[in-house]
Symmetry: D2
Subunit: 404 residues, 4 copies
C-alpha cells in the first residue's frame, strides 16, 4: 500500500489523502477517471469563467470532508470501525459516479426516467463485482439500508458532506465568495445521537449561516438568469437533435452520442445503454454543439450558436410569472421581424424554485447540552431558520435581443 | 457604454473590470470566446485536478494586471494617455489569441513552423480590420515597435503581466502554493525610467522571490515528470495520427482536425488553414484521442489510453542523461516481453531545461534612489539572483510498468 | 511627495496606498499613531485569539475601501473632484480618531456623556488648525453638512466603508469566516443617484447577504456570551475603581488613568481632559487591571482576575429575560457559600440587542434599470430583507462557577 | 473531558483542536495565559501593522501542526503511542513559555545570561510539579533526551513545527505573502527513519522553497531596516533605564519592571526573579516607554519617542560595514548641529546575519526510495540548497534625519 499512499493537491481543501488502497483502486478505474471529463457545474463557466472544475475533483473533495467528519466524530467518542470508515469513504467517493455529461441538465434526456442516483447505484454494484464485494457495506450506506443512519446522512441529507463540498468548491472556483461555507466548522459541530446525525447546539448560527449561504448561491449562481438560460438551451438542443434524428436527418456526432440521439425513448435501459453511457462525457456533447452551429436547421443552429459564441438572447427575471399577453406580444413581433415559422420557439419562460430549508422532509436536529434533540426551527436561539422554510420561485423570460 | 460595463468574477484577482467598450467587443468576438475551450495548462489537470482553467480566463486576468500596473505607474507620475492605456489593455488581452488546442504541446505539429505568437499577431491584424484600425497601436506595442518600450515590456519580458498572471493563476488552480507570486507587490514596485520598465530598488527581494517561485513552479508543476509525459504522449499521438493518415488510414476526427492531420506539412499556411485553425479547440483533439483508444493501431491506442484512463508508463527522473546501455536494456526486455516489433517506441527520454533568470537577453533593471539603473544581479543587496543565471536540465525516462 | 508615497501591507486588502501627502501627514501625527495602541475589538481576543488588530489598521483599511469606492463611482461617470476625493479619504481616515481605550466598553465611563464621534469631531477640528484648514471639507463630510450626501453616507450609513472594513477585518483576524463580507463586490455595486448613495439593483443578493453576514457576526462574535461578559467586567472594573477612588483609596494607575478615575463625573470636559484623553490607550487600562488583580478589594480583584487569567464565571444565554426568582436563587446560594456581603455583585444579567436592518432610519435604496429608486425591502426580488427588520434580543446571565 | 473539548478559531490553520485534557489545563494556567500579552514579533507592527499576533496564538498553532505531523506519520505506519503523542503536544505547546516581554530583543537584558529556552525548561519543570509529573516525557523530548530523536526534531530543528508555524503566522499577519510556507505539504513529506526526522525525497523542492521563503522573510520582515532599528532602540531604552537607575534616578515603572531595572546584573537568578519575570509582559514595558517619552533624560526620551510616535531616525542599509570615516563624519555634524554632549549615541550601526541553511550543524536528510538517507545539499536533484549554505550579513547605519 505504502507506494499507493497518494496525496492529491486541492486548492479548496489543501491536500487530499487517500487512506485506503481500495479508494485508490476505485479512483484509478476508467469509469471514475471519466469524471475528469464531466464538469461539475455544466455551462456555468459561461458566466463565471473560473467554474471549470470537474465532478472528479468534487468526488475527491467530498471524500476528504467525510474523512474529516469521521475523525471529528471519533474525537467525540463515537465508535466507528475501520470497515465502516472505509465504506463511508467509498460511498461518498462513488456517490456521483452515475453522472453523465451536463447531468443536471441532460439527465432524463439521454435516457428517460433515469437520474444519476439510480445510475450511480447500478455502477457501484457493477464495481462491487470487480472488487469482490468490498463495496457491499458502502452500497448499504448509500442506499440508506445500513443500520447506523448517520452514515447515509453524511452522504445525503441537508447537511451532508456532498453539499458542503460542492458549495465550497463552486464558490471557490466561481469566485462568488458568498457561498464559501465554513465546512470545517460545520463538521466540527456534527455529532451523533442514537445513530442519527445531529449538530451540537452551539453550532446553531453556523448552520443558519450555511443555509442562507446555500440560498444565496442558488440565486446568485446556480439560478443566475443567463446560467439558467444556458442550461435551458442545452436541453432544447438535445431535444431538437433527437427530433431531427427521428425525422431521419443524420446529425454529426460521436458514435455514442448518436446512439442516444437515435435510441427509442420508451425502451427500458439495457446493458449496451449503460456501457455506452459510461463512455459519454462533456466532450461528446460540446463538440457536437460546436458542429451544429453550422447546421441547416435554423433552431438547432440558433441554440448552438448562443452557447458556443456566448451570444444569448435577452432575458428578464421576475418573482411573478409573465402574463400570457406579454409573451404573445413578443412572439408576434418576432414573427413579423424574423419572418420565420417557429417564432414562438425563440421565446420561453424558465421557472426556478428553491426551498432553502426543507424542514418537513429533512429536519436538522440540534443536540442540546442535556442530550435532547430539538429541531433547528424550534430552537429558542434560532434567528433565521423559521423564515426560510418556504419555497421561493423566480421566472425568467427570454426572447431575441433585436425586438427588445 | 454604461450597459456594457461588466464585471467578471475571478477567484484569483477578485473582480475584473472592463474599462473600455472595445475591450468588451473583443471579448465577445467568437475568436476570443473560443479561448474558453482551450485549457491554460493542457493536460496538467491529470496531475493537479484543479488545473482546468482556460486561456480565456488567463487573458482577462492579465488584462486586469495590466490595468493595475498602469494605474500604479500613473500614481508615480508616469504620463499615460487614454489611447495608450486602451491599447496596452488590448495588446495583453489578445496576446494569446493565436493559441491552438494544447498549444504548448501541439504548436508546430498542426501547422509546421508556426508558433502562437505569429498567429496571435495575424489574428490581431485580422481583428484590426473588423475594428476599423482601433487596434493599430496595440499591435505596435505587441510587436515592440511602439516608441515607449515599457508597454511592450509589460506584455512580454521577464516581469511582464502575462507571467505574473499565469504563475499566480496556475498556482491557484493547481493548489501548489509555492508559485503564488505576489503580483500586487511586484506591480507596485514597477516604475519607468527613460520609457523602459524598471523595478524600484526596494523591491529587490520581491523580484528575487518571484524568480525562485517561478523556478519552483517549473520543476514542481510544469516539468512534473508525469505532466511532461502526458504532454510528450500528446505529441506522439498527433504524430502517429498524421503518420497513419499519410499511410491512407482514415482516422475518426472532427472535420477540422482531419484537415490538419492530412495537410501537407511543408506547404505555406493559407487562408483556409487560418480559418480552420481558429475553429479548432481542445474538444476536437480530446474527443479524437478518446475514440482512438479503441483504434487497431497498437501504438496509437497505447498512447491514447495512457491519457484517457490516466494510466501512464513508469517514469524516472535524473539530472543526468540516461546511458545508452540503460535504455537499450529496457528496449530489449520489452521486445522479449511484449513480443511487438516497435518496442523502442514504448521507451523514451524527455529533456526539460529551465533558465530561471535570463540575465543575458532580458536583464531586469533596478531603479536606485539616485535615479541610476543597475542590473538585478549586480545590485549590492541581491542574495540569490547570481545563482540562478544558468540553465538547469533534467531528464525523464519512461518505459512500461511491467518491466520495471 | 514621491518619497512620501508609501505602501502599507494589509493582509486583509493586500496593499494600502496613500495617494495624498496630507493623508500621510495625518497618519504620522501622534494622535493618529496612538490608535496603534487601541485594539479594534477590545477583549475579543480572549475568545478569538487572532483578534489583536488595532483601530490604526482599521482606519487605514477603511480609507483603502473609500479610495476603491470612489474609483468605482468615477468609472460609472460620477464626477468627483480631487478636493472631494482627498476630503473623503481624510474623513474616513479620521472617523475613529476619538476612540479611547476599549472604547465601545469604556466610553461614557471615563468622560460622561462623551462618545467617540463627538470626540473624533473635536480632534479633527484641532488637527484642522494644525493643517491650516485643509480638513475643512472633510469635516463637513463627516458632519453630514457637505451638499453631496453620498460622501457622508460612505462614511456613515448601513453600507458605509467603515462597516465593510470592520466586518471583513474582524472576520479575518478572528478566523470567523461567516463575516467575510464581499466588500469588493458591494463597492462595485455602489452608485450615486441625486447625490445619494444607492446600490445597483443587480447587487440585491450581495446586500442581503451582507446584512445577514453582519447579523451572524454580531451573534457569533461581538455578542458572544463570554465576549459580552469580558466587556461587561471591564465596565464593572472601571466603575469599581472610580468608586474606590471616591472613597479615598489610592489605586495604582498611570497618571492619566488616575486623573480620569478621580475626575468629577458631572463636570464639563475641558482642555486638560481632552489632552489627557489623547494620551490614554489600552496599555494604561490593562496594566492597571493586571495590578488590581492583587488589590485588597474583593470585587475589584475578582473582576480583574477574570480578565487577566481568562477565568470567567459561568454564563448562560437565553432569548428571554431570566426570572427574578432564578436570579434571587443564585444570589442566595452565593451568600451562603461565599460568605460575603456583596454576593449580588457576582451575579448579573447582560442584554444584547441587534437590529439587523434599520429600514426605518437608514433604508438602503436600490437603483433600478429605469433609474428609479426602490427600498431594499420593497424590491420584488428581495428574499430576506423583510425578515430582518425587527430587533433581536438575547439575555446573558452570569454567576460563579462553583454554585452552578 | 468532553466538556473541555474545545475548538479555538485560528485564521491561519482554521480550527485548533485540543485533544487531551492536560493540554487544556496547561493552556488555562496563568503562566500560559500571560503569553496573550506578549506579542510574537515585538515591534514589527510598527512596520507591518497587522503583525499584532501573540505568542499565545503561536504556541497553539505549533501544537496544531504537531498534531497534524503525528497524524501523518501514523498514516506512514510509524508507531506513536498515546503517551508520546500527548507529550509531544505538551512539549511544543510549552516550548516558548519562558519568553518574556519583547523577548528576542530583551532577553539577557532583564536577566543576564538567561535566554528563553533555559527559562522555558525551568517553568516546564515547575508546572510538572503542579501536574504531578505528567509533563516528564514532554520535558525529556524538549531537552532532546527522549530516545526517539524525531520528537525533539519536531520541536527544534531546521524543519520543526515551531518554524513552520511562526513563518506561516508571521507571513499571514504581516501580509507579506512571500513567507507563506506550505506547512501542510512539508508536514505531509515528513517521515521517520531510525527514529530520526527525514523528508521523503519527492518533497525536495518543497524543502528548498521553504528554505528560500524563510530567507526572504528574514530580509524582508524580521531584518527590515526599520524593524531592526525599533528592536535596537528597545534595547537601548532598557540599557539607558538601567544606567539611570544605577545613577539613583527613580524612573516610573511597574513594580516588576522596576525590580528588574534595579536588579544587580551579576547575581544568580533566584526564585523571586523567576516569579516576577512570569508576571511581566509587553504592557509593563510599553507603558513605561510611553511615560519615558517625557523624561528629562534626553537620550531616554529620544529613543522612547522614536518608538511611541513611530518617528525613527534615518537609516541606510549596505552589504558592507560602514567606514569609520563615514560614521565619524555623521557624529561631527550632529555635535555641531545639536549642541549635545553625547552626539555619538544618536548614530549607530546594526549588524544582521542570516544562515539560510545550516547544513553543518543541522543537515536536513532526504529519504530516498531505496530507504537510504542523503543530505539535502548532496541530493542529485537539488537546485538551490548548495547556494544558501553560507552566511549573509547586512549593515544598517542610523543617524538623525536632519543631518542627512
Amino acid at each position: 500500500m505504502t507506494n499507493k499512499l497518494k496525496i492529491i493537491n486541492d486548492p479548496v481543501h489543501g491536500f487530499i489523502k487517500i487512506p485506503y488502497e481500495i479508494l485508490f483502486d476505485a479512483i484509478e478505474h476508467p469509469i471514475f477517471q471519466r469524471l475528469r471529463r464531466i464538469s461539475q457545474t455544466g455551462l456555468l463557466n459561461l458566466i463565471f469563467p473560473g467554474a471549470t472544475h470537474t465532478r472528479f475533483h468534487h468526488a475527491l473533495g467530498a471524500m476528504h470532508l467525510m474523512f474529516t467528519a469521521l475523525e471529528n466524530l471519533k474525537l467525540k467518542c463515537i465508535e466507528i470501525s475501520k470497515e465502516e470508515e472505509k465504506s463511508a469513504l467509498l460511498a461518498i467517493l462513488l456517490h456521483d459516479i452515475g453522472h453523465g455529461p451536463f447531468s443536471h441538465a441532460l439527465e432524463n434526456i439521454l435516457i428517460e426516467d433515469w437520474h444519476h442516483e439510480k445510475l450511480s447505484l447500478l455502477l457501484m454494484e457493477q464495481l462491487n463485482v470487480e472488487f469482490d464485494g468490498e463495496l457491499s457495506m458502502a452500497i448499504e450506506m448509500f442506499k440508506g439500508k445500513y443500520h447506523r443512519k448517520f452514515f447515509n446522512q453524511l452522504v445525503s441529507s441537508q447537511i451532508d458532506v456532498d453539499r458542503l463540498d460542492y458549495l465550497k468548491r463552486d464558490s471557490f472556483f466561481s469566485g462568488v465568495s458568498e457561498g464559501n461555507v465554513n465546512a470545517q466548522r460545520i463538521i466540527s459541530m456534527m455529532n451523533v445521537s442514537n445513530d442519527e446525525l445531529v449538530i451540537d447546539v452551539k453550532g446553531i448560527y453556523s448552520i443558519e449561516n450555511y443555509l442562507t449561504a446555500r440560498m444565496f448561491m442558488y440565486w446568485q449562481v446556480y439560478f443566475h438568469k443567463t446560467a439558467s438560460l444556458a442550461e435551458h438551451f442545452l436541453v432544447k438542443i438535445l431535444q431538437r437533435a433527437k427530433f431531427l434524428c427521428a425525422e431521419g436527418i443524420d446529425l454529426p456526432a460521436s458514435d455514442n452520442l448518436k446512439y442516444f440521439l437515435n435510441r427509442s425513448q420508451h425502451s427500458k435501459a439495457n446493458a449496451e445503454d449503460i456501457e455506452r453511457f459510461t463512455e459519454l462525457d462533456d466532450y461528446d456533447v460540446l463538440l457536437s454543439i460546436k458542429k451544429w452551429t453550422k447546421n441547416s436547421d435554423f433552431l438547432l443552429s440558433y441554440y448552438c450558436k448562443a452557447i458556443i459564441n456566448r451570444d444569448f438572447p435577452k432575458s428578464i427575471i421576475s418573482s411573478k410569472p409573465f402574463t400570457k399577453e406579454f409573451i404573445e406580444d413578443k412572439i408576434e413581433k418576432i414573427n413579423l421581424q424574423f419572418n420565420i415559422e417557429n417564432g414562438k420557439e425563440l421565446v420561453g419562460e424558465i421557472k426556478r424554485t428553491l426551498l432553502p430549508y426543507d424542514a418537513e422532509n429533512q429536519p436538522i436536529f440540534l443536540l442540546q447540552k442535556n442530550g435532547e434533540k430539538v429541531k433547528l426551527e424550534d430552537s429558542e436561539n434560532q434567528i433565521l431558520s423559521a423564515f426560510i422554510m418556504g419555497e421561493n420561485t423566480k421566472y425568467i423570460l427570454y426572447f431575441p435581443r433585436d425586438i427588445a
